[in-house]
Symmetry: C2
Subunit: 413 residues, 2 copies
């Protein structure tokens, strides 16, 4: 007998028929002898509907009230889901965030779970009941309802799995697992059976949308196994788990691309200590998060390195591109930059894989492949298990297909 | 400076515009220097929408889950209302039942308030904030959400007013007060300025729908003044308060009628102790509430009283009429009744007024008036401040108009 946490996303509980379908899955697990905790999102579209009501009243509604409003979405699904289980003859109880003992900090609309007291859920599980928990919500020390931000139900599920020492956390969604790349872009994309936390984290950070990043970090920190599966199929899905020796045999686990960034470059900045810090400080004070940063010696008009000058480039989220460009353009003059230029017509293509640590030549093959397609690389950034290249936006999908093919990711492993 | 509890019903918060309109009223009271607590219902139609979702899943959904589901209705309105107040520049906080300290018993879907701990609301009022409280809901000793049954928001408002020692409880609704009779039936119906708790209780029990009976009882027990007003007009409304000497000058405060009952009669029952008890016991065990009861010596075919036999009649809610008739028909035979007959083609017309205690002749004028319209009376029941007559259903509206006119209720007092 195992203790299993199952999380069903909004598209899996979007109407009565879907709720019945996923409830059958939860009930089946229960009848196989497992203890089952179900975490639910709001019905698909419901959170947006509620949010638009709030936005209809105020452009910046009080976050505490937004949380009280949004939390109703999950409250509705857990009650309906519990009713469905009851019609199937199962004993079941629903739990709101505060009833499930999910305590958060005070940051309304983006709260972090501070602690979970799972005693009430444990009591109900011991009474042979299915526990149905509202995802996305908790309660702060004042007894106010908080929400965890978009995708927060994944975090609820993983955090509960940790608090309950669950054997497995199953994330049911509308895709049947993690793929080597986006199947909409590349028709040889292949479902990955097993992927390690670090790889999943990089893939998510780089644009794969299956799971919320915070929940993967949490699972990684506590070594909770996650099983990503399609809620309406029996596909085996993908297991996210600790790295094992097998995984390193494959240098590259997946390819991803993102067009959600803009690049800003300061040309010919005086190469003095503290210049980069000044720029970055300015941007972070504006609440903007920088992704890639590259600094390079400037090259003069006649092609010579200029020792006392440097070029400085970085990327920011597309939504912050314009504001950042304005900010840096005025600051750049003070700093003594020759010119500030921006480009939001870019894409970032990345390879991810823990195996790349032991395989020389991944970068070489990547650059070669892009070159052979006539794609110019304007920025490169690497980590132990990732290589990202910034290229022209129009080549994003071509690059993904070419790299997927070059690294033979479509072949069964 | 007074402490005022304002309750707005579902039709007063049915959309954004209405919420804005009633929020202006709450904010105005605050700016006049009062401490303001607002109690809200769900938007009109929302509770029914949620209930129909539940009924779509199960004919008898678990009451605990129904409560979790229904409680979202009020949660949405308090959040939106608070946001609206914020756009008006007011400091405000919303409170769910459990946050407002509203503790109930365990009877899901029809819980009774056991206790209120208003400390958090008091704290926020002291900080110059408007407190916006979800009506209709509370929390039981397990931390589960309960609801108070239909119209429960009135009870929330009155109970909060008591707990907070409020100076006034204002009930805003879609009529502009209590009327001498239903204005749809009688065009000379007149708004009543002041009515005492006992009269209001009788009128509500007899069919006037403005306020929930439980909330009036509660207000009466704690002598909290209630002000019933229209949420979209400046009409002075009706004050429900303690009886004063003035009130007794008017023998009849109002006329009401109800067609929501059926009458059952056992003819020629042996006149022995315990017979009535046996019948009533049977019915109350079936969960049916009896309204009027009348026992009379039987009259033989030749018009003589029959000393050892009695006729026994009572009325039950129309919805229970058929079940009661079946129940009593089979039991009547055992008891030795000659015959059991039923009639659900009846109406009950009632006069209510504390003044009738001191005015002889109210009953006389009532019977005369009905007789002069050719209306036969089949049952009569009286209390200190009420006279009810059961008549044929088709005469209900005629009787109301005739009585309203005979007692001159349309004239200003």
């Amino acid at each position: 007998m195992a203790l299993i946490v199952q999380k069903y996303g909004g598209s899996s509980v979007a109407n009565k028929e879907l709720i019945e379908s996923v409830a059958r899955r939860a009930v089946a697990a229960k009848r196989e002898g497992h203890q089952v905790v179900v975490v639910l999102s709001a019905m698909k579209g419901e959170t947006d509907r509620l949010l638009s009501m709030a936005k209809g009243i105020s452009e910046s509604p009080e976050p505490r009230e937004v949380d009280a409003l949004l939390a109703t979405g999950e409250q509705v699904t857990i009650a309906l889901f519990a009713m469905v289980c009851q019609t199937m003859g199962e004993k079941v109880k629903s739990f709101l965030g505060f009833q499930a003992g999910i305590k958060t900090d005070d940051a309304h609309c983006r709260a972090r779970i501070a602690d979970i007291d799972p005693s009430r859920i444990k009591t109900e599980l011991a009474k042979n009941r299915i526990a149905v928990v509202a995802g996305f919500q908790g309660v702060n020390r004042h007894g106010d309802i908080t929400t965890l931000g978009r995708g927060g139900s994944d975090t609820t599920a993983v955090a509960l799995a940790i608090a309950l020492k669950a054997n497995m956390c199953e994330i049911y969604t509308d895709v049947d697992g993690i793929y080597t790349t986006d199947p909409h872009v590349c028709d040889t994309a292949r479902r990955i059976d097993r992927i390690c936390y670090e790889e999943m984290l990089e893939l998510s950070s780089l644009g794969a949308k299956v799971m919320e990043i915070r929940s993967i970090e949490l699972a990684m920190n506590y070594r909770i196994k996650i099983h990503v599966r399609h809620s309406q199929s029996q596909s085996p899905g993908t297991i996210i788990c600790e790295e094992d020796a097998d995984m390193e045999r494959t240098p590259v686990r997946g390819v991803t691309s993102s067009v959600q960034e803009g690049r800003i470059t300061l040309l010919r900045v005086p190469d003095k200590p503290g210049v980069a810090a000044r720029i970055l400080d300015l941007i972070s004070k504006a609440g903007i998060v920088i992704d890639m940063i590259i600094q390079n010696q400037s090259v003069s008009a006649n092609g010579q390195d200029e020792e006392n000058w440097t070029d400085f480039s970085f990327t920011v989220p597309a939504a912050d591109y314009k504001a950042t460009l304005d900010l840096v353009t005025s600051a750049g003059v003070e700093i003594g930059a020759y010119k500030v230029v921006g480009d939001n017509n870019i894409a970032k293509v990345s390879l991810v894989g823990v195996g790349m640590r032991n395989h020389a030549g991944v970068a070489t093959l990547m650059f070669k492949t892009l070159a052979s397609e006539g794609i110019n690389i304007s920025m490169i950034s690497t980590s132990e298990i990732k290589i990202s290249c910034v290229i022209e936006k129009k080549y994003a999908e071509l690059a993904v297909r070419a790299l997927h093919n070059a690294f033979n990711l479509g072949a069964p492993v």
